[in-house]
Amino acid sequence: MKIFFLIIAMALVTYFGRVLPVLFLGQKTNRPSVEKFLRLIPYSAMTALVFPGVLSVDKDFMAIGVVGAVTALALSWFNMSITFVVIGAIVVNMLMYAM
């Protein structure tokens, strides 16, 4: 029962954050700087999600995150599809654990 309440509470606070922009975003701004800000956020957000978090993918083995990220970087630099980038990073990490 305790876990059930926890799940409901987590669901509510998470949805709250998602629904806020729906409730409070009225009409499109015509200020180019605000538009630009919103267009740049995806890149800054994804960067912030990756670094430095990726360094602690495995807290006891930092090289896992570093080598995994460099693999993903290299593959995506050569315009590999997301599928290959993800599989490549996983396979390299598997090899590192296997060694």
């Binding site: 998470t14 922009p21 994804m46 997301i82």
Partner: protein
Amino acid sequence: MRKKEQYLLGVKTALPVILGILPVAVAFAVLSEHSGLTTLETILMSTLVFAGASQIMAVGMLLAGAGILPIVLATFILNFRHVIMGTCVMNRMLDTPMWKRAILCFGVTDESFAIFTTNEETNNTPYYFAGVISVTYSTWVLGTIAGCAASQFLPILVSRSLGIALFAMFIGLVIPNVRKNIELGVLVILTAFLNVIFNYFVPSSWAIIFATLVGAFLGIFFVKEAEEEEIQ
């Protein structure tokens, strides 16, 4: 494009992301079962919360003996970034009726936000977004179910290697754009640097939010955009 085509285009664009989400769903399920949740509770959490990082954190805190209130508070803080992401997503579908947006916003996650906002803005319709989140949501729930089923059999070598998947996916979404626009690369390095600095002062979930906002704000001043150059 008709509604159905827009929806199917969203589904198609999101397909590669299955590979980024599935491993995280499996990893969550394995951790959740280890920390004492039943299979039903594990699946229910994925179905209702639909926010991977916070779910993994929650079962980790449960395992460490934390109470409900600290876990809910941590979930709220960690998922507060959805306000920013939701603002970017919803800003591209303001003509859509509010009740539809109130349903669609449940699907705002790191992944759906990333796919939706890195695509051409002409594709950014509510039906396209519905297609994207159909894929991410079903992958998340089915991946959790698969993870529960496999948690006893999955070799530790495999489950440990899955942690990199989500990071690899974000890298794979950002880098092709950085190649096209060098100033975007500067923005990436700047944001990473800011995030490291902020991590010294605030918990990492806040650092992510602050670095995202400050990074994008500074970017206004030096990133040149393709469309902008054409206009001026």
